[in-house]
């Protein structure tokens, strides 16, 4: 039964994926992708990996889907939504089948190493959090996570570099014209408080149970997006100093904590066991804010003024 469910799930996932690639039209492709993302989240749950399932659902399906949809909308405005005629590329197909075959073969020939390492079990008590995933993310491999937050920043700066010179001082994203009192507007008034709660909760429980700053941040970002799209909040300008400070707050706190570890403890990013929990909390809060704002800005896109090309 379980196997059958899993098989059906996998078949659906593959079907959605194929439709994403082969389906006619970009819009359909995006729609299938969102479906695909939700199915993937289910798959992660089936794998009993809730942390990832949350991330996948929030970022992989949700936020990415919104990103694609927003982009599609803009492409439609530019008249660039049409696809060039597509053709089957047999060599590519063969090569990709080969790639799949090779990975499949690898799966079946993989040895099972000693995992998770005894070190993990031994170190977890000193990590300051109970959720091992969070421990890995924010303590054992905190350096990765710090860089990850920086990657988000880099993407944002990169994205901003795509602004047209004339638009630089405009507000982020497309100018919104939401009719006051419309559906969107109402939706926009209801959703944010709920989302806000969910987001903060996700981040807060991340210490012990599935969840964390990135998942929570994503939810907050969704809130922010909805607020912006419904006209509840006007997106800021790039030059807004407060927002820019929020953007860098997470990485900055992370860095400072790391340096504190280097100065007080043994190494960069060392969080001494007694204060580890507290430190991780502070970092998570800062990260939550930064991630939320960064993701929001990433989806909003660079400022685009009224003036057309």
């Amino acid at each position: 039964m379980t196997l059958a469910f899993n098989a059906a799930l996998c078949a659906l996932i593959l079907a959605a994926a194929l439709a994403t690639i082969l389906g006619r039209g970009i819009f359909r492709s995006i729609m299938f992708f969102i479906v695909y993302g939700l199915l993937m989240a289910v798959a992660w749950v089936r794998l009993d990996v809730v942390d990832v399932a949350l991330a996948e659902a929030a970022i992989g399906a949700g936020l990415t889907g919104v990103l694609f949809l927003a982009a599609f909308g803009r492409l439609v405005r530019e008249g660039a939504e049409a696809e060039p005629p597509r053709r089957i590329n047999p060599p590519a197909a063969v090569a990709c089948v080969g790639l799949t075959a090779a990975l499949t073969w690898a799966w079946f020939s993989l040895p099972i190493p000693e995992r998770p390492g005894p070190q993990l079990a031994e170190a977890l008590p000193r990590a300051g959090v109970e959720n091992p995933v969070t421990a890995v993310l924010l303590n054992f491999r905190a350096w990765d996570t710090l860089l990850e937050s920086i990657v988000l920043l880099a993407a944002l700066i990169g994205l901003w570099m795509l602004t047209r010179e004339d638009d630089w001082r405009n507000r982020l994203g497309l100018p919104q014209h939401v009719r006051p009192g419309g559906v969107m507007s109402g939706f926009g008034r209801v959703l944010p408080p709920v989302g806000l709660l969910v987001g903060v909760y996700l981040a807060y429980v991340g210490a012990d149970r599935p969840g964390g700053a990135f998942q929570g941040g994503t939810v907050l970002a969704a809130v922010g997006l909805v607020a912006a799209m419904t006209g509840l909040v006007r997106p800021p300008r790039i030059s807004a100093p407060g927002w820019r400070a929020v953007l860098v707050a997470g990485p900055l706190v992370f860095l400072v904590a790391g340096l504190a570890g280097a100065l007080l403890g043994t190494n960069f990013l060392t969080l001494p066991a007694p204060v580890a929990g507290g430190a991780i909390f502070v970092i998570e809060v800062a990260l939550l804010l930064s991630v939320a704002v960064t993701l929001t800005f990433l989806v909003l896109g660079p400022p685009e003024g009224e003036n057309r090309r």
Binding site: A106, Q119, D144, L147, W168, L252
Partner: protein, 489 residues
Amino acid sequence: MSALVTLLVLPLAGAIAAIALPSPVGRTAALAAIAATTGAAIVLMATVAFQGMPRLEMGGWTPPLGIVLVADGLSVALIVMTALVMASAGLAARHAFAPGTAGERAAFGFWPLMLLLWSALNVVFLSRDLFNLYVGIELLSLAAIGLVAIDGKATALAAAMRYMIFALAGSLLYLAGVVLIHAAHGTLDIDLIATRTAAAPDGLALALMTAGLMAKTALFPFHVWLPPAHAGAPAPASAMLSGLVPKASFAILLRLWFDTMPDRASDGALTLIALLGTAAVIWGSLGALAQVRLKLIVAYSTVAQIGYLFLVFPLAGGASAGVPWAAGAWTGAVFLALSHGLAKAAMFLAVGHWMAVAGSDRLSDLRGLAQLMPMTAFAFALSAVTLVGLPPSGGFTGKYLVMTAAFASGQWAWALVMGGGGLLAAAYLYRPMAVLFARGAQAGAAPPSRARQAVPLLLASASVALGIASAGPFDLLAIGRPLAAEEGL
């Protein structure tokens, strides 16, 4: 606080400051970070040279749990080269991306992108964790894409898009390899993997990572994105993109094939890699010959020069690894990478000056500029010397070491590639030289000040000095080498 931490934190802090602080302050902070990071790089080099390799266990966790960063000879050599190029690019950008010169957007964005790029490079050069390396090269790619696109023109955007697909595809292939490694060995630490018991999928992992990194290094046939991307960016950005960025993925390749899984190499694979390198040398050179824009010539030259680097694999890897000349070949390849980085950056900065004066980088518009700006012309010429591999330059030392290894191991076909590539380089670099030296300068704008002209000259001189004083770098590179860097030949 150790130089290692400083080196990692400073550019990050600089980037954060440049993002958060308002324009003039942010820019000043960025420049301060550039200066400080350069200092830190040099301090780190001194540390490695005189005290041994610093090792930084992030968060105090040892592998396989935590991430370790180690500064060995290869790391610091690349880091110092990076610092030199970055500092020069920063100096050039001080003018090129001054608020008055560039638009508000570029004047804001350049500095954080540059510092993020630098952070990523330092991470890639230092990290011993395969996944951390992945994050590093992703950061690198995103910052680089931002720099490619910073010009804002449609062609630059197309170049950035092209670059992006290659970079993303490469990253994912690399990540696939990392996944396999972790699945098979439960660790991501290079040194632990080196002591693992071999697993069947190791070969696939290596193949995936290699292919992915090749795409990011722009090795033939994955080079097509490089010329438009590097040629489309503003000069200081081009200098970083062409001089530094390919070195990151190349450094990971070196780590993979020589540190991580040296036992996994097979002659066939090594030969395949070198054949692609050979093709890159020929293809890139001929491509450069066909160009009429100087930036494109210089960019295609990068394609060709990258090809050289890949000749090292059959010479120092696999069955060759244990023999005495392997160390020479390996060191030679790193010398080539270092001198190419310096020389290429010098070239792009010089071209930037000329473009500012002539208004274009078409060869026909650059006629006689050597008279107007002799220092930059000299810098270009010196860089050309390095790229052609003429003595006394770092390029020559590298070429010599690699060629000696090729002959000593009986694989002299690679030596022929090396020599032939030098000739091709001479051919494509001669054209701009001849144009620059011809009579009849037509200045559109006043030439930049001598101090600004001196920047590329210093870089080019550094690439030559690398050859003149090659003993020091050679010894430095031997630090931390798994192969006993025997006294060459």
